[in-house]
Amino acid sequence: MTRRTFKAMGTDIELLVEAEKPEGALAAAEAEFHRLEALLSRFRPDSELSQLNERGSLRAGPDLLEVVRLGIQARRQTGGRFDLTVHDAVVASGYDRTFDELPAEGAAPAGGSRCGGGVRVDGNRIELDEGVRLDFGGIGKGYAAENAATILGTAGPCLVNAGGDVATRGGSWPIGVETADGALTIELATGGLATSGRDRRRWQRAGKELHHLIDPLTGKPAAGDLLRATVIAPDAIQAEVWAKALFLAGSHAAAEEADAHGLPCVLVTETGETRLAGGLG
């Protein structure tokens, strides 16, 4: 098995593949991450996403179109708990630059911001309601992981781990999940896996701890009882979307929803409890 690690999209990327000569596929998969980061990052002023956010309307390329379509679909599926329009709320909470550049301490944030504005796709044109800006923080890495896995999968069974958002193609992969009691190993044969939580990507403003998971209902960092939610789904994109949706639901509702939808998941509460739901365990 060959492993390659590198940094992209503000996180550590790990590529694993079982093949005799995987160098070409590994290089192509890595290039895919950098290509998508250049298109979808809100921190790059020349990215397609930044242009869309600036103009409010854009004749977009296929990747931006697809991510927006997936985001709109995810908003509907999760009853609005996943929402691409959290950009201004994330920025208002202090996450206004790449996480590596973000100061650990700072002044009080501006407060919550409006979420839930209109996003329309008409052909290859994307139109946003006035004042609406998009953030792909909850879907971009999953999308990139799936694309990279498709490329890497041409060489052999593979796993792509984009900072916790995992996509697989073939093979059987034991994956460690952090719980309150230590690591739990889950063997994933097909599908994707993702973890959302507030134990990383957090900062302090005026003595108050903040994190990047915005609740679209309030426009502020979510304040539920969950510390982390790991979800297994048919692909990394859905896993990422549902990880955030279940995180926002809170432990009790998340477990019920995971059971109802057949979503295997690991829920870790801030009080140190670990709960398996959705048929896992």
């Binding site: 599926q77 781990n161 460690g176 190993t185 097909t190 599908g191 982390r228 048919p234 859905q238």
Partner: protein, 122 residues
């Protein structure tokens, strides 16, 4: 005298027979061999009219039968369309429910193997 009276009687009888014969002949009690026959065009029209009347009756019966068949088939088709619409509505409802939930598919289980990679908060 006798001869004179006789002549009168004979003359009167002759005149009576003459006028009687005339009246009989004038009354034409027997068909004349030279009487002309009916116009053949008129006869053809009459025949044609009769044929058309028969055909008209047949056509009306045929139309009535076809109308009844059409009404039966229309009712059957309308019930099929209504059933199809109901089925479509049910399918749309089921599709909406299915769309609200992620598709099933991932194969996963908890194992005691060492992990090859780790997921964490992204």
């Amino acid at each position: 005298m006798t001869s004179h009276v006789g002549r009168i009687y004979v003359t009167a009888i002759t005149l009576f027979v003459f006028f009687l014969t005339w009246a009989v002949v004038a009354a034409r009690p027997f068909p004349s061999a030279s009487r002309p026959t009916a116009d053949p065009r008129l006869q053809a029209l009459v025949v044609r009219e009769q044929r058309l009347r028969r055909e008209s009756v047949l056509v009306q019966k045929l139309v009535a039968h076809r109308w009844a068949t059409y009404r039966t088939q229309l009712a059957k088709r309308q019930s099929q369309i209504a059933a199809a619409k109901q089925a479509q509505a049910r399918q749309a409802q089921l599709a909406a429910v299915a769309a609200a939930a992620p598709a099933s598919g991932p194969s996963v289980r908890v194992v005691s193997l060492p992990a090859i990679t780790v997921t964490r908060t992204s």
